[in-house]
């Protein structure tokens, strides 16, 4: 039974009513990332009565999160984010089901985690992860509600909605090694992800309720500093959609999983005889990771270097966060190498194992 008192102010909207509230209660939404965007998404979905919410985040709460991630308090610092978020939103609304996945979303665990969800909300901070969230969403034919931020600006869109365009239609994946996103930390105005996350939650509710016009085939750009918004129209690129669909299907069938290495698997690979381990970071990046078989080849020089390697040579690549190594791995695979792996979340995920 729906608690009609709690939801009274939205049930009295003719567009929602008790029927709409029941749709919200039955909905199953997966929120990937419980950070700046994830917090407002979770607060709003939970308060609105979305009945089943999954939270995926492998991180812990840090004091630097608190200026924008309003679910957490100082006493939560050091605690696991997914569990902490679960507890906080159950206090907001104890009448819903929350599943916490205290792990980073990777190609290995993705098929298990997405099972049974009807909508994916992308609140991640890594472009490489965004591509495979898109691919899973395309393969499972469930919409992906996207937002991302940069300093004072944000973008919002909905991909793969009712056969609509995908993330790859907007931003085709670059196979060119020079076109790599920067992984340096850039600052962000605390309120910004809250604005964007609230817009994401709005799209999720509209999709569930089947009301209004969903932001599909449109990219909203918001500039908080100058209060300017723009909507860019984009259309479906069948090749880009198909690429995502194929990738996603391979992922779901566990055909693509073992190339993304966990810290443990990475260290094991590094100790294998004959393995070539390539650090694709620039020479001044820390922490250093030195082993006998580790060579340092910045990404811009990898193309030249790889010409001297046999295509059967097994190679492990790594960088700081996993973005550049993903690019490097894709490049090597596309140029014919058969055994290529990368450290999925970069050397930063290895901090506890190296001194």
């Amino acid at each position: 039974m729906i608690n009609t008192k709690r939801y009274n102010r939205q049930i009295i909207l003719p567009e929602i009513g008790e029927t709409g509230q029941q749709k919200l209660q039955d909905a199953r939404v997966l929120v990937i990332g419980a950070g700046g965007l994830g917090c407002p998404v979770l607060q709003n979905l939970a308060s609105a009565g979305v009945g089943n919410i999954g939270i995926v985040d492998g991180d812990v709460v840090d004091e630097t999160n608190l200026h924008r991630q309003l679910l957490y308090t100082l006493k939560d610092c050091g605690n696991i984010k997914a569990e902490t978020a679960k507890k906080a939103i159950l206090e907001l609304n104890p009448e819903i089901n929350i599943t916490a996945f205290s792990e980073f979303f990777t190609t290995q665990n993705a098929p298990r985690i997405v099972e049974g969800y009807h909508i994916i909300v992308d609140c991640t901070d890594t472009i490489a992860v965004r591509y495979f969230i898109n691919d899973l969403s395309a393969a499972k034919k469930i919409p992906m509600v996207y937002a991302s931020i940069h300093k004072f600006e944000g973008q919002v869109s909905v991909f793969n909605y009712k056969n609509g365009p995908s993330y790859r239609c907007l931003f085709p994946e670059q196979e060119n090694l020079n076109a790599v996103p920067n992984c340096a930390e850039s600052g962000v105005l605390g309120v910004l992800p809250n604005t964007l996350g609230t817009l994401q939650a709005t799209e999720v509710l509209k999709i569930i309720l089947e009301i209004g016009t969903v932001l599909s085939g449109k990219l909203l750009i918001y500039d908080a500093l100058h209060f300017q918004t723009q909507i860019i129209d984009f259309t479906k690129n069948p090749k880009a959609v198909e690429k995502g669909f194929i990738n996603g299907t391979l992922l779901l069938n566990n055909k693509k999983n073992n190339e993304d290495l966990t810290p443990e698997a990475f260290l094991e690979k590094c100790s294998q005889l004959g393995m070539v381990v390539i650090d694709v970071r620039e020479s001044d990046e820390v922490p250093e990771f030195k082993r006998e078989n580790v060579i340092q080849i910045p990404l811009s020089e990898l193309e030249e270097y790889s010409k001297n390697l046999h295509k059967n040579q097994e190679i492990v690549v790594f960088c700081q966060t996993g973005q550049r190594s993903q690019q490097a791995m894709n490049y090597l695979k596309n140029s014919g190498f058969v055994g290529v792996f990368h450290l999925a979340r970069g050397i930063e995920s290895l901090k506890n194992q190296i001194q």
């Binding site: 940069h150 907007l170 931003f171 996103p181 962000v188 990219l219 750009i221 723009q230 129209d233």
Partner: protein, 80 residues
């Protein structure tokens, strides 16, 4: 012809501008030709991923740009 270029996200960081006007002798120019000109002015843009919208609609390399058009240079954002 005179057109307005708008830069977003990391591209505005590179150009240090949110917006500027370009004037050409030609009456029309393709998106790919404009891209080469802009990448000539700001070489660091060559190393980034972005998409180009003409009058708020995503373009392809063949799209023709004419006088008074507004061109947006849009990189994907990473932050969450």
């Amino acid at each position: 012809m005179t057109i307005t270029l708008k830069y977003f996200g990391s591209l505005a960081d590179i150009t240090k501008l949110r917006e500027e006007q370009f004037t050409f002798d030609e009456e029309t120019i393709s998106v790919s030709a404009l891209k080469s000109k802009v990448e000539g002015s700001y070489q660091n843009i060559q190393n980034t991923t972005y998409t180009i919208a003409v009058n708020q609609t995503m373009s392809d390399s063949q799209t023709k740009i004419k006088d008074q058009d507004v061109i947006a240079f849009l990189p994907p954002f990473a932050g969450g």
